[in-house]
């Protein structure tokens, strides 16, 4: 699928267990990487326009843990955590991600998805960011789908892709 402009986000489904988000940003890779890996900067973009990020804890090394917490405008709290599996500065970060449900232990990896984020230089000093989320197995994927966790939307996207024309 061609991108209409650098500000177009693209969502595709590379396999039965994966979702891939692609977006090109107008900045060099080292700056995108910095914005992605510096807690004070993460707090500025990660919650979108939906609330305030209260925790951005990053033990940024392979095997280190991270935890993000945001309080949505609606006053409810959403938390995610995981560990870093691979770090290639300015190029690639691989990490697990668990959406915390009531009773989830802070170090639990149960139901974790694996996210691979890559930063590729594009024309004109831009950077193409790819976020590939792999649920790993059908069981995990189904669990995600049922909990409403982000990575679980693949199935729904698939249907929507098919039906986009008739849903207008």
């Amino acid at each position: 699928m061609a991108q209409a402009s650098s500000s177009t986000m693209d969502v595709t489904f590379p396999s039965d267990t994966e979702i891939l988000i692609t977006r090109t940003l107008n900045a060099p890779a080292h700056l995108v990487y910095r914005a992605w890996t510096t807690p004070e900067l993460v707090k500025k973009w990660w919650p979108g326009r939906r609330g305030e990020m209260t925790v951005a804890a990053m033990d940024f090394r392979v095997g280190g843990a991270w935890r993000y917490v945001m309080v949505a405008h609606g006053e409810f709290q959403v938390a995610f955590h995981g560990t870093y599996r691979e770090i290639v500065p300015n190029e690639r970060i691989v990490h697990t991600e668990v959406m915390e449900m009531p009773g989830t232990a802070p170090d639990s990896e149960e139901g974790a998805v694996l996210n691979t984020v890559t930063f590729d230089g594009a024309d004109g000093g831009a950077t193409t960011v790819r976020i590939r989320t792999d649920a790993g197995s059908k069981e995990v994927r189904d669990m995600i789908a049922q909990s409403g966790m982000e990575g679980g939307v693949r199935e729904q996207f698939e249907i929507i892709e098919e039906l986009a024309a008739s849903l207008t």
């Binding site: 940003l25 326009r49 960011v129 669990m143 789908a145 982000e150 729904q156 698939e158």
Partner: protein
């Protein structure tokens, strides 16, 4: 993890891969059951059971024409899913837009 027992919900109904195949087949237009049986390579009772679930959540509607029962898609029933997916997509769009702002600040520092 066991699937929730209830299927009286669109999300649940489309979580079953075969039912998504049926919906996909119906995006091409109205079809009789026997065509779906052929397309899916499933026994008719199985297809009928899936169709019943899809009817219960309103994702498909049926009409009789002579001896045939014809099924077609009712996209409106899938709108809740569409809305949910759209909000997920919008979140990432918001994130990227804000990230652009952060990057502009970073570029100015240099």
């Amino acid at each position: 993890m066991a699937r929730a027992a209830t299927t009286a919900d669109t999300f649940n109904a489309v979580a079953e891969p075969r039912r998504r195949e049926i919906l996909d087949a119906l995006t091409q237009g109205e079809r009789p059951v026997n065509e779906l049986v052929t397309l899916l390579g499933l026994a008719q009772p199985h297809v009928s059971r899936h169709l019943r679930v899809l009817r219960e959540v309103g994702a498909v509607v049926v009409r009789d024409e002579g001896r045939q029962r014809l099924y077609r898609l009712n996209p409106q029933a899938l709108k809740p899913i569409h809305d949910w997916v759209a909000s997920y997509q919008h979140l990432w769009e918001e994130r990227f837009d804000l990230l652009e702002d952060v990057l502009e600040d970073l570029k100015e520092e240099h």
